[in-house]
Amino acid sequence: MSKAWKAVLTHLLLAGGAFLSAMPFLWMLTTALKPESALYQPPLLFPVHFEWENFAKAWQAAPFPRFFLNSAVMTAGIVIAQTLFSAMAGYAFARMRFAGRDLLFFGVLGTMMIPFPVTLIPSFLVVNALGWIDTYNALIIPRAVSAFAIFLFRQFFLSLPRELEEAALMDGAGRLTIFFRIVLPLSTPVIAASAIFSFLFAWNDILWPLIVTNSPDMRTVQVGLAMFQGQYGVFWTLLSAAATIVTLPAVLAFLAAQRQFIAGITNTGLKE
């Protein structure tokens, strides 16, 4: 097969999958631009209606500026803390040898395997006992570490060649120096991946933020979205407009992160 044909085939394959992947998102956009009277028309992939007012209406239907601020603070806190702490823990599990390492690692993995619904009440009681209800502490600290991210980092570090670190160790460098000076700079792709997952986790979460806050001033964007999914029927056009607004930061975050996927080890001068 010639090179050109191979490229065409690859593009056909990729485009087909990409189309399927994008469909619901496109539906959300076109629904956001529909008048309510066109709701029962078949789903569209390209907009034929342009009810830009839906966005204004959706934006005004809930105190979104405040919700965005809260979500931004919470998400920033969680992303930074999870990335840093999880990378540190992942490194310890991947590279250090100490008594009880595997046991502890299984303990970390195990926390992912307990479904959230059954730990909700006890977790809430802890936060309540700490006096954190209606604070950013309650929104961030209980989720400052992610077992999932630790696992991701550990697996990434396992596949990273050890040569550079060992040379540094031989030169008498400490673990902290090695971690921050050598390992982290080599890890931009996985940091980007982990950060985007932390971002989505924090940005999309509704139940925990709702449970640990009572004041409307502490609510996050997802609560704003829930206002359009009423007990008595869903306001589809407004919901889609609001969902588009609320999802936009996630798309932007991914766009920013995905650049880092190509800035990997291959470009960092580690050749041997």
């Binding site: 926390t111 479904p115 209980p142 990434f156 596949s159």
Partner: protein, 308 residues
């Protein structure tokens, strides 16, 4: 080609570094935030929930009745639970394997210098970002018995499609398709990050040895991705065992329990029926199942370093 397979060359040096305690003090420093946060907000609540699994409690009543292991015996005697387990295994197996293969395929294709690379990456990741309500609406429409694209397509080739989400024999297959759809982008991102970690020199060396691109993939890429694959399989199983929102939006566990995955079963017991003690017992049985599967995988792959 096996010579390219890379095992750490430095095991000898490692042994020299440390004695019995190893690097415990340094490791504790690195693990301090993890131990503090997970201990307080995950371990303690999990143990509390284990304790709750010995009670009958609706989460509201001031009275909790101690019932010993009755929640567990009731669970294991429940036909609904075994049905859920069967459905979950089918769902987890289907989604894990298909999404793994497709995610790897897309990642490898997008790891080449290809026109529109960045755009493709965003599009493939969109299912992860798209709100579940929107995904649910569109997929329900695609699977609509008369209007849906799926059945219209089948009609073109002379087949009559089932009424997917309303048909107990087909609903799970439809939900698996959506589960895979949602997971591929996630796997792609993780694989892409891992692919970037493979030094180009390995491929250059292989090319000098005359390896074609399939051989390079088989003997360099796949083995070096093994820790990542292990990660993706374990997290896919954990997620699949707890999947809830997709099922909630698409089928609510129906028809006739044919999509009643454990995550949804647990949601019904815990949130809808307010049976918190029983739900905790369900959670611990789920935990035991996933944990055993994970430990077996861990052992088989030498700590998640080798092939799965």
């Amino acid at each position: 080609m096996n010579g390219v397979r890379l095992q750490p060359t430095s095991i000898v040096i490692h042994r020299g570094w440390r004695r019995t305690l190893g690097e415990l003090p340094t490791a504790l420093l690195f693990l301090l935030p993890t131990i503090a946060v997970l201990g307080t907000f995950n371990f303690y609540p999990a143990l509390y929930s284990l304790y709750l699994s010995l009670f009958e409690w609706n989460g509201l009543s001031p009275h909790r009745e101690f019932v010993g292991l009755a929640n567990y015996t009731r669970l294991l005697a429940s036909g609904e639970f075994w049905n859920s387990l069967r459905v979950t295994l089918l769902y987890a197996g289907g989604v894990t394997l298909l999404a793994l293969a497709l995610g790897l395929l897309v990642a490898v294709l997008l790891n080449q210098p290809i026109r529109g690379q960045a755009l493709y990456r965003v599009l493939y990741f969109l299912p992860v970002i798209t709100p579940t309500v929107a995904s649910g609406v569109v997929w329900k429409y695609l699977f609509d018995p008369t209007q849906g694209v799926v059945n219209r397509g089948l009609a073109e080739v002379g087949l009559e499609g089932p009424s997917w989400l309303s048909d107990p024999s087909w609903a799970l297959a439809a939900v698996v398709v959506v589960g895979v759809w949602k997971r591929v982008g996630f796997n792609m991102v993780v694989y892409l990050a891992a692919l970037q970690g493979i030094p180009k020199t390995y491929y250059e060396a292989a090319q000098l040895d005359g390896a074609d691109s399939w051989q390079q993939f088989r003997y360099i890429t796949l083995p070096l991705l093994a820790p990542t694959t292990f990660f993706l399989v374990v997290t896919a199983l954990i997620d699949a065992f707890q999947v809830f929102d997709l099922v909630y939006v698409m089928t609510s566990g129906g028809p006739l329990g044919s999509t009643d995955v454990l995550g949804y079963y647990l949601y019904r017991q815990g949130f809808r029926y307010s049976e918190l003690g029983f739900a905790s017992a369900v959670a611990y049985v789920m935990f035991a199942l996933i944990f055993v599967v994970t430990v077996i995988q861990f052992r088989l792959t030498r700590g998640g370093q080798g092939d799965v």
